[in-house]
C-alpha cells in the first residue's frame, strides 16, 4: 500500500478512515485562504481583535511619523500638552476627575502625570510604537528562523532532523526569560537585542510546528511527483511544502506576537529592554513601582495598555484557529 495516508496494514482501507456517516461530509485537510477570510469575517470577537490590532498599528505608525518627521507635533497639539516649563511641572498627578495628595486631575493630563511630570497618555501612545515594533519583528525572526530549521529538519529527516531537533530542544530547555536576559547581558541591553533575543527563543516552537506539518506533507503524492520530475529540493520546500504547512503557523505567529509583547514588557520591567527615557509600557511599570502608594494610578495605565493589545492579538489568533479548523465549520 504505497498510499499517501500512512499505510497501516491492519485490514482497514485509507478511504474508510473518515468521520462517522450521516450528514457530515469527509473532512478536508486544508482550507483555502478566501474561505478562511470569509469565516473570519463572521466571527465578531476575531474582528474585534483585528480592529484593536489595526488601531494599535496605526497609532504606532503615527507616532513614528510624529517623532521623526513632525518633531512631536501631534504629541504637543493633539494628544496632550506636555509640561515644558520646569516651574509649572506637576508630578504624579492623578487622572482627570480624581484627587490625590499632589493635586487634582485635569483634562490637560487625562491620565495623570508621572514622577517627572510627563504626561502619561502621551507616553502610553508612544509606547505603542515599541510594543508593535517588538511584537512583529521578534515574531518575524522566530518565524523565519523556525521555518527554516523546521522545514529542513522535517523534509530531510534522518540525522539532519535529529541533530537540528536536539539543538532546538536544548535551546528550548533554558527558560525563556532567563535565556533572553543572559543573551542581553552578553550582547547588549537595549531594544534591538531584546527583539533578537526574544526572536531567537521563539525559534524552537515554530521549528517544531513546521517540522510536524512538513513531515505529514512530505508524504503527499504531489511532493513525490515533483521530486520525480526533478524539481530541486529547495524549490520543493519553498513552493510546495511551506505554503501547505502554513495555516497553523499563521495562528501560532499571531498568538506569538502577543506573547512577545508580554515578554518584552517583562524584560523592560527588569531593566533589560528599552532604556529610559524612551517610553515603553514595561519600563513605565518599572518606574511606577517606586510610587505605588503616592500614585497608584500610575501603574494602572501601562498594564491596561499591554492587556488590551495582547487581548487583540489573542482574539485574532483564536479566530484564525477556529476559521482554519475544518471540523468546527461543520
Amino acid at each position: 500500500m504505497a498510499h499517501s495516508d500512512a499505510s497501516v496494514d491492519d485490514g482497514t482501507t485509507p478511504e474508510s478512515r473518515s468521520t462517522t456517516g450521516g450528514v457530515n461530509e469527509r473532512v478536508e485537510a486544508r482550507v483555502g485562504l478566501s474561505y478562511t477570510l470569509s469565516q473570519l469575517r463572521r466571527d465578531p470577537t476575531a474582528m474585534a481583535g483585528l480592529v484593536v490590532i489595526v488601531v494599535m498599528t496605526v497609532v504606532a505608525i503615527l507616532t513614528f511619523v510624529d517623532a521623526k518627521l513632525l518633531h512631536y507635533y501631534f504629541a504637543t497639539h493633539y494628544w496632550v500638552n506636555p509640561e515644558n516649563d520646569p516651574s509649572t511641572v506637576k508630578t504624579l498627578m492623578p487622572p482627570v476627575g480624581l484627587t490625590n495628595i499632589f493635586g487634582e486631575g485635569s483634562w490637560a493630563h487625562p491620565l495623570g502625570t508621572d514622577y517627572r511630570g510627563r504626561d502619561i497618555l502621551v507616553r502610553l501612545v508612544y509606547g505603542t510604537r515599541i510594543a508593535i515594533q517588538v511584537g512583529f519583528i521578534s515574531t518575524a525572526i522566530g518565524l523565519v528562523g523556525g521555518t527554516t530549521v523546521g522545514s529542513v529538519a522535517g523534509y530531510y529527516g534522518g540525522w539532519v532532523d535529529d541533530a537540528l531537533m536536539r539543538a532546538v530542544e536544548t535551546l528550548y530547555a533554558i527558560p525563556f526569560l532567563v535565556l533572553v536576559i543572559a543573551f542581553m547581558a552578553a550582547f547588549g541591553r537595549d531594544l534591538t537585542y531584546a527583539m533578537v533575543g526574544v526572536g531567537i527563543t521563539t525559534i524552537p516552537s515554530f521549528a517544531r510546528l513546521i517540522r510536524s506539518r512538513v513531515v505529514s506533507v512530505r508524504e503527499e503524492d504531489y511532493i513525490e511527483a515533483a521530486r520525480a520530475a526533478g524539481v530541486r529540493d529547495r524549490n520543493i520546500i519553498l513552493r510546495h511544502v511551506i505554503p501547505n504547512s502554513f495555516a497553523p503557523v499563521l495562528v501560532q505567529a499571531t498568538l506569538q506576537i502577543g506573547v512577545a509583547i508580554l515578554v518584552v514588557a517583562g524584560l523592560s520591567f527588569l531593566g533589560f529592554g528599552v532604556q529610559p527615557p524612551t517610553p515603553s509600557w514595561g519600563q513605565m511599570l518599572a518606574s511606577a513601582r517606586g510610587y505605588l502608594l503616592p500614585d497608584a494610578w500610575y501603574s494602572v495605565w501601562p498594564g491596561l495598555a499591554i492587556l488590551l493589545t495582547v487581548v487583540g492579538f489573542n482574539l485574532l489568533g483564536d479566530g484564525l484557529r477556529d476559521a482554519l479548523d475544518p471540523r468546527i465549520n461543520n
Partner: protein, 374 residues
Amino acid sequence: MSEPLLTVRDLQTHFFTEEGVVRAVDGISFDVREGEIVGLVGESGAGKSVAVQSIMRLVEEPGEIVGGEVTFRGETIFGVEEGPDGELREQESMLSNAEMREHIRGREIAIIFQDPMESLNPVFTVGGQLREFIEINRDMDAESAKAEAIQMLREVGIPEAEKRYDDYPHQFSGGMRQRVLIAMALACEPSLIIADEPTTALDVTVEGQILEMVADLQEKYGTSFIWVTHDMGVVAEICDRVNVMYLGEIIEQAEIDDLFYDTQHPYTEALLDSIPRPDQTVEELDPIKGVMPEAINPPSGCRFHPRCPDAREVCTRVHPGAREVTDAAEPHTAACLKHESVFGAGYTESQPIESHAGANFGSGLAARGGEVDE
C-alpha cells in the same frame, strides 16, 4: 404473524444548521421482526446512520427528531401528538431519557459503529470497556462480568482471549477491533443489534469472516439485526429483508430475493447494475449518473428524478410515497410513479425527460409537489 420487535413510522429527523434545514431522514417506515436481519441500504449521505441513531435517540445538536413514531416491543421510543395548543409535542407515553438509557440502550438495542479505530477508548483496556458495558446492561458484578467478557471475546474469535483482555485498543488490528465491538453488542444480549456499516472499513477477506461469524451467532442467539450498508453484496449475503434508502426516504422495501430478482424501483436497479458481478463479463461498468444531492435542498417531486433513466415530466411534480406494488407474499413496496396502477399519476401519458448528471437540476423549490393520496 406476531408483533414486530421494532416499528418505525414516518420517522423524520432534521438538522437545523446555519445554512438551512437538512432533512436527513424525511419520513421512513419499516419494521423489524424477531430473529430477522433487515438491511438498510443506500449511498453515503442517504440518511442511514441518522435513521438508526434516531431509533436509539442518540441524535445530537443541531439534529432533532421532528416527527413520526418509533416503538419497541410496544413501548414508545419516540412519538409526537398534538398538544392542547395545536402544536406538536412529544407524547406522554414516550420513554424518558433515563428510561432510554437504562432499559433500551445496550440492554435491548445495541449498536455497532462503523469505525473500529475510533470507537474504542484508547486509554482503557479492551476488556475493561467490554466488562463495563456488560456490568451496566446485564446487572452483573465486576467479577462475573469479566468472566463473561472473556468468554465473549473467545466467541468472536479473538485468540488468547484471557490475555488479550488486558490489552489496549492500539494493540489490536482493525479486524480484531471490529470483533470486539461485535462482542460488546452480543455480550449485552439485546433483542436487536444495529450494525452501522461494520465491515465498510475492513478488507474484503476480513469482512467475509465477520459476516460468517455474524450469521453463526445470529442462528445461535436469535438476535434481530438492522444491517446498515452501501454494499449490495453484503446485503445479498445475510439479509432477510431490505430497505433501500435514497435522500432520506425509503424508496423500496422487499424480501431479499424479491429485491434482487423482481426489482421495482429504478434506483435499486441502477444500484444492482452498477456493481460488478462474477457471473457476467461486461464492457464497462454502468454507474448511476450524477451524485446524490444534498438533503438540504432535495429535488421536487420524486427525489431521484434528476438521475433516473425512466424519469418523466410528472416525476418532477408529484412525490410518490412508498406503496405496495406487487402481490408477493411479503409486502414489496416501491416509491415510483412508474407503477401507474398503484399511483395513478399519469405516468404513461407524461413526456420522458432527460436525466441530468448535475445535482439538483430541475429541483426548483424544496417544497414537495402534491402527494398523490386520497
